[in-house]
């Protein structure tokens, strides 16, 4: 009896300390439970800080630029001569070059991308798709500098055999190569949109006697239109922001023209030229880099917001 009660009290003491210990470790655990989300929140906030950083840097330096060059002169000027004795800072030649190169790229990537998407989503067998898709992904994984090299050393000389008046640097060749680069992006986004169309709709149309082609044009594409348009807009945004291909293959002439055989400069290529040219900090040229980058940033931002708006607003829900 006495032995029993002895062990009992000892046990109680042991259990009590165990409870105490467990409470202590529980407290530590709970402290962690409370602080860790806060730490994670701070880190998650860092990504927001990147945006703030980009906007802040661009806005402050752009304001500095507009104190030297008027906003109207910048946005309506058709002449860009940053290095001349009496420099002129019209951004229109750069916007012109950007739009033309993107347009050429989209003329290639748009039709080919959507036809690729149709083939992969509607016609290809599982086996064909398994072979073709990784190849397209490979195309998307090639660094842009490699495309630039390809445009400059292969595509331009090739085109010059057919178009003798084509310059050694021109906007046509980088535009075409940029189009090839964007095909995988448009194809894969459009294919996602087409695959999301329920099979019941396909089967319904096929059961009514439509051919696959008719199903594609009358059922699938209308149903997936929002996704397809969104992929186009994202493709344009990608083309606008593309830098190395146009920098290498289109040269640095700031021509304000519609002639695609001539050298033109895009906004991105101008930033590269000025930044690589070691413009002294504080000079007007240096600040012009930020004004152009700001314009570029706004262009792509609008495109990205538009793409999201289109795919959300006009989505057909099934």
């Amino acid at each position: 009896m006495s032995i029993n009660s002895h062990t009992n009290t000892q046990d109680t003491v042991r259990v009590k300390t165990l409870i105490e210990e467990s409470k202590d470790s529980r407290k530590l655990l709970m402290l962690g439970e409370k602080t860790i989300p806060k730490v994670l929140f701070v880190v998650a906030f860092l990504s927001l800080l990147t945006t703030v950083g980009i906007v802040l840097v661009l806005v402050t330096e752009t304001i500095e630029f507009f104190e030297r060059v008027s906003v109207i002169e910048f946005f309506t000027g058709t002449v860009l001569r940053p290095l001349s004795q009496n420099p002129e800072f019209g951004v229109l030649p750069l916007i012109n070059g950007t739009i033309i190169s993107s347009l050429i790229a989209m003329l290639v990537a748009g039709p080919i991308g959507i036809m690729t998407a149709v083939f992969l989503s509607e016609y290809a067998s599982d086996r064909t798709r398994r072979v073709l898709k990784p190849m397209l992904e490979l195309l998307a994984g090639i660094p842009t500098i490699v495309y630039g090299f390809f445009a400059f050393t292969f595509v331009t000389p090739l085109l010059r055999q057919f178009i003798p008046e084509l310059g050694a640097t021109n906007i046509l060749s980088p535009g075409l190569v940029m189009g090839i680069m964007i095909i995988p992006m448009i194809a894969s986004l459009s294919e996602d949109a087409m695959s999301a169309v329920p099979n019941a709709m396909r089967e319904g149309a096929l059961a009514l006697g439509a051919t696959k082609l008719e199903v594609t044009f009358k059922v699938i594409i209308p149903a997936a239109l929002s996704g397809i348009i969104a992929s186009f807009v994202l493709g344009i945004s990608r083309a606008i922001g593309e830098t190395m291909i146009v920098t290498i293959a289109s040269g640095s002439s700031k021509n304000f023209t519609l002639d695609v055989t001539e050298s033109m400069q895009t906004m991105t290529a101008y930033v590269v030229e000025v930044a690589a040219g070691d413009a002294p900090a504080g000079s007007t040229i240096y600040y012009s880099l930020y004004a152009v980058a700001m314009t570029l940033f706004l262009f792509t931002l609008v495109m990205n917001i538009l793409a999201r708006y289109v795919s959300r607003r006009f989505r057909e829900e099934y």
């Binding site: 292969f154 050694a168 922001g241 940033f297």
Partner: protein, 294 residues
């Protein structure tokens, strides 16, 4: 009275079937366009460059003399860049993904963060270059060193890592964490012991793909002011450096001056593509080997 002209119906039907087959061919041809160009590009690069790859080229220092030019410095620079980008993007990316997926309350703040990440992914790389040049190189006074380049590249690829990590975390089935909670584990214990290990293959795959984007990027580094000809090898975070894409860029620009520079650029492209190939193979192996199906 005849309701149907069977001849006409047959003719019409044959035409529709013909169109269908015709367009199937057109769609297939369109699909091959990209692949054919890719093949031409690779053949072009390999025929021009493969003869220039030898031990001296891979281990030598840069030189204006094409016969003695080597790209060891650029290879080391690329490796140093990776050494900065991997830990930073993994740490920031995974933490952000955990917060967004598992801790953030659904609401305004959450949607602001998500929209922001989507927008950041669409910002042209050259704008990141300007950010890096202004903040890291000039304001912090780092100069165009490994650390500045690495931080800039980290910011550039961070959205990719965040998005793929979020997808990996979302793919972990609910019942695993519910079982963990049922055994009395706290939220962080569940995250640390259950969710992260299960999501790790997906996170690693995303990080490797982001990394291959980072080592192929050129534009931000041009803006940072990476020099054309740099003789000493980088040995630390605060050394000036160059990377493979920069070397390709400079040799391509000068290809009209010295013909052989085009060959050197091709050879460098082969080395870069080989590194990308290794990275992507690793990603595929990780995905196939460690991806569990629940």
């Amino acid at each position: 009275m005849k309701y149907m002209e069977s001849d006409q119906v047959l003719k019409k039907m044959n035409r529709r079937i013909l169109y269908n087959n015709l367009f199937k061919g057109v769609f297939f041809l369109a699909t091959t366009v990209g692949i054919i160009v890719l093949a031409i590009l690779l053949i072009q690069v390999f025929t021009e460059g493969i003869g220039y790859i030898n031990v001296n080229f891979l281990s030598g220092r840069l030189s204006t003399d094409p016969d003695h030019a080597g790209i060891m410095g650029a290879i080391l620079g690329t490796l140093w860049l990776m050494a900065v980008v991997i830990p930073i993007t993994m740490l920031l990316g995974v933490c952000t993904a955990i917060y967004n997926e598992l801790y953030a309350k659904q609401g305004k703040a959450q949607s602001v963060i998500q929209t922001n990440i989507a927008n950041l992914a669409g910002v042209p790389s050259i704008v990141y270059g300007i950010l890096g040049m202004t903040i890291f190189v000039r304001t912090l006074g780092l100069g165009s060193v490994v650390l500045a380049g690495g931080l800039t590249m980290s910011l550039l690829v961070l959205p990719i890592v965040i998005v793929s990590s979020q997808e990996a975390i979302r793919a972990v089935p609910q019942h695993l964490s519910e079982a963990s909670f049922g055994l009395g584990a706290t939220k962080w214990q569940t995250v640390k012991n259950i969710i992260l290990p299960a999501a790790l293959p997906g996170i690693l795959t995303g990080t490797i793909l982001a990394l291959s984007r980072a080592i192929g990027e050129t534009a931000p580094l041009v803006v940072l002011g990476i020099p054309a000809l740099l003789i000493p090898f980088p040995g630390g975070l605060f050394d000036r450096f160059t990377v493979l894409p920069m070397q390709i860029y400079y040799w391509t620009l000068d290809a009209s001056l010295v013909d052989e520079y085009a060959n050197l650029a091709s050879a460098t492209i082969i080395v870069l593509l080989f590194m990308l190939f290794l990275l992507n193979s690793t990603a595929i192996i990780i995905r196939n080997k460690f991806q569990k199906r629940y």
